[in-house]
Symmetry: D3
Subunit: 128 residues, 6 copies
C-alpha cells in the first residue's frame, strides 16, 4: 500500500474526531472492497465537504443525524453518527430534540427508528 494522499489523511483525521479508532476500521472495510474506495468516498465526504469551514463539526453532525433519520435507509450509519454527534459535543438533550423534529418532517416511524439508534448511542456512551 502506498502512502495515503494528503486528502485521505485529512479525511481520516476528521473521521477520527467523530469516533476514535474508526479510521482504521473503516479503511480496512473499504480496502477489502476496492483500494480506491477510501480515497474516493472518504476523500469526498470528509476532506472535500465536511472538513470545510463555515459550519462547525458539531452542527454538521446534528444535520447528518437529522438527514439519515429522515431518509430511513441507513440505520447502522445513523447509529454511528449518533455516537459521533456525542463525540463532537452534541448533548443527549439535543439528540432528543433532533429526534422529535424528525417526526415532524419525516413522520413517526422515522422518529421511532431514530429513538432506537439514539438509545444504543446513549448506552454506548454510558459504558465508555
Amino acid at each position: 500500500m502506498s502512502a495515503p494522499s494528503d486528502r485521505l489523511t485529512r479525511a481520516l483525521s476528521l473521521l477520527d474526531s467523530l469516533e476514535p479508532g474508526a479510521p482504521e476500521r473503516v479503511q480496512d472495510n473499504l480496502d477489502a472492497f476496492h483500494p480506491d474506495t477510501a480515497e474516493l468516498v472518504l476523500g469526498y465526504a470528509f476532506a472535500d465537504v465536511l472538513g470545510r469551514d463555515g459550519i462547525d463539526l458539531k452542527t454538521r453532525e446534528m444535520m447528518t443525524i437529522a438527514m439519515l433519520a429522515a431518509m430511513g435507509t441507513a440505520q447502522g450509519q445513523l447509529e454511528f453518527h449518533m455516537r459521533a454527534a456525542m463525540n463532537t459535543g452534541v448533548s443527549r438533550e439535543e439528540i432528543v430534540e433532533i429526534v422529535l423534529q424528525v417526526s415532524v418532517y419525516a413522520g413517526v416511524p422515522a422518529c421511532m427508528n431514530a429513538i432506537t439508534a439514539a438509545k444504543k448511542a446513549f448506552e454506548a456512551a454510558g459504558k465508555a
Copy 2:
C-alpha cells in the same frame, strides 16, 4: 371561527418568526381544506415540537433544510425553509455548506435541487 387555541397561537407566532406574514397565508390555506388542520398540523409541528427548548430556532432550520433537501419530496417547502432559515439568522455561507453536505448523504441530484431552491431564496432576500 372560534378564537384560536393557545397552542395554535404559539404555533402561528413561531411561524411568523420564520416568515413574517406566513401565518395568515398558511392558515387560510389549511382552513380551506378543513378547519381542524391548522390546530392539528401546525400545533404539532410548531407549538409541540419546534417551539421546544433545547435547540435554538436557527439550528432547527438548518436541520429542516438538510432533511427536506435529502428527502427530495417537498421542493416548495424546501424553498420556504431556505427563506425561513435566512430569517432566523442562517447566513448564505451556511446555506452553501448545508447544500454541499446534502450531496454527501443524499447524492448530487438532491444537492442540485437544493441549489435551485437556495438560489430562489437568495434572490428573494436580495429583493427584500
Copy 3:
C-alpha cells in the same frame, strides 16, 4: 392497431370507473411511448391486481392515495387518484382523514403536498 386483449379491456374498464374518459387519454399517452406499454403496465396494475376481488375499489383507492402521498414522488398521479377516489365513493371527509393520517406516517411535508392535491380534486369535483 390490433384489437385490445381481454386483459387490457378489463384494465381499461376499471380505469374508466376511476375517471370516465381516462382510458382513451391514458392509452394514447402510453401508445405514443411504445405500443406494448398499455398492455403491460395497465394490464398488470388494473387487470391483474386492482381488479381482483377481496377489497372493494373504494378502499383500494383510499390505500392508493395514502401510498402516493406517503411516497411523495408522484404528485400528478396523486391528484388523479384523489379524483378517482371521489369517483369510487370516497367522501371529502374521508380524504381529509387520509391526508391527516399521512402526516403521522410520512411527516408534515407529505401531508401538505397531499392537501394541495386534495384541494385541486375538491375544486374539480365542484365544477363537475
Copy 4:
C-alpha cells in the same frame, strides 16, 4: 411519574386495541428515551389523528400497512401493524390484497418485504 394526560390515556387506549399489552411496552421504551416522548408522539399519532372519527380503525390500519410497505423504511413497524391490522378485523385475504397492491405502486421489492412481514404476522396469529 405524574398521571398521564387525558390525551395520552386516549392514545394508549387506542394502542391497546391495536395490540393488547402494547401500551406498557411502547411507553416504557419511549420513557427510557425521554419522558416527553410518549405524550408528544403517541398523543399526536393515536389521540389527535388516528382516534378521529370519519374512518374506522380497520380501514386506517389497512392504509397504514400500505404506506409503511410502500415507504420501505420501517420493517419492524410494518410487522407490528400487520398484527394490529388483524386485531382490528383485517382478514388474511385482505392483507394479501394490500400486499399485492403495494407491488403496483411501490414495486416488487417493497411487495416482497411486505410478504415477509405478513408471513410473520400470520404465524404469530396462528400461535395466539
Copy 5:
C-alpha cells in the same frame, strides 16, 4: 397444485439463470403466502418485463443493482441481485464501478450499504 402457466414457467426459467436453485426456494416462499403470488409477481417481473428483448440480462442486472442500492429499502434483495449479476457475467470490477456510481446519485450511505452487499456476494462467489 395445477401445472404452472407458460408465463410462470418462463419467469422461473429466467430466475434460475439469475441463481441456480432460486426458483424452488422463491416459489415455496410465495406459495406459503398465497398461491396466486408467484404467477402474478414473478410473472410480471421476470416473464413480462425482464424476459423481454432489447437489453441483455447482464445489463439489466447492472441496472437492478443500481436501482436497489439507490433506493436503499431492500438490502436482502440487493444481496441476491449482486450474486445474480455475477451469475449473468457482471465482473467484480463492474460491481465496484456500479457501487461507486451509486454514491454520486444516491449518496455515500447508499454506497456504503451497497459495499456491504457486494462484499457478501464476493465472498459467496469465492466459496462456490
Copy 6:
C-alpha cells in the same frame, strides 16, 4: 476566475459528451451559487467517478436513468440524462426497456414519470 483545475476540466469534458453545450450552462448555474461548487460536485461526479474505466459511458447512463427514475426525486435531471443517454448511444428501444424495468423495481408511478421524461427526450431528439 482562475483557470479550471485539471479535475474540473476532465469533468466538464465528460459533461460535454453527455450534452454538447451543457458544461457552460451548468457551470454558470453552479458558479452563481458558489464558486467552489463546480469543482467539488462536478469534479466528484464526473471526473472522480463517472470518468473511471471499467464501465463504458453508455452503460453508466443506462444505470443513471434507472436510478433517477426509481428514486423519483429529480425529474428535471432525469430528463437531462434521458437526452444524455441518447447522446452516448442508448437507443429509444433501450430507453423503453429501462423504463419498463423501473416499474418492476420501483412501481408504476415511477415508470409513468419516466415515460413523461422519455417522451420529452424523444421529442427533443426528433427536433435536433
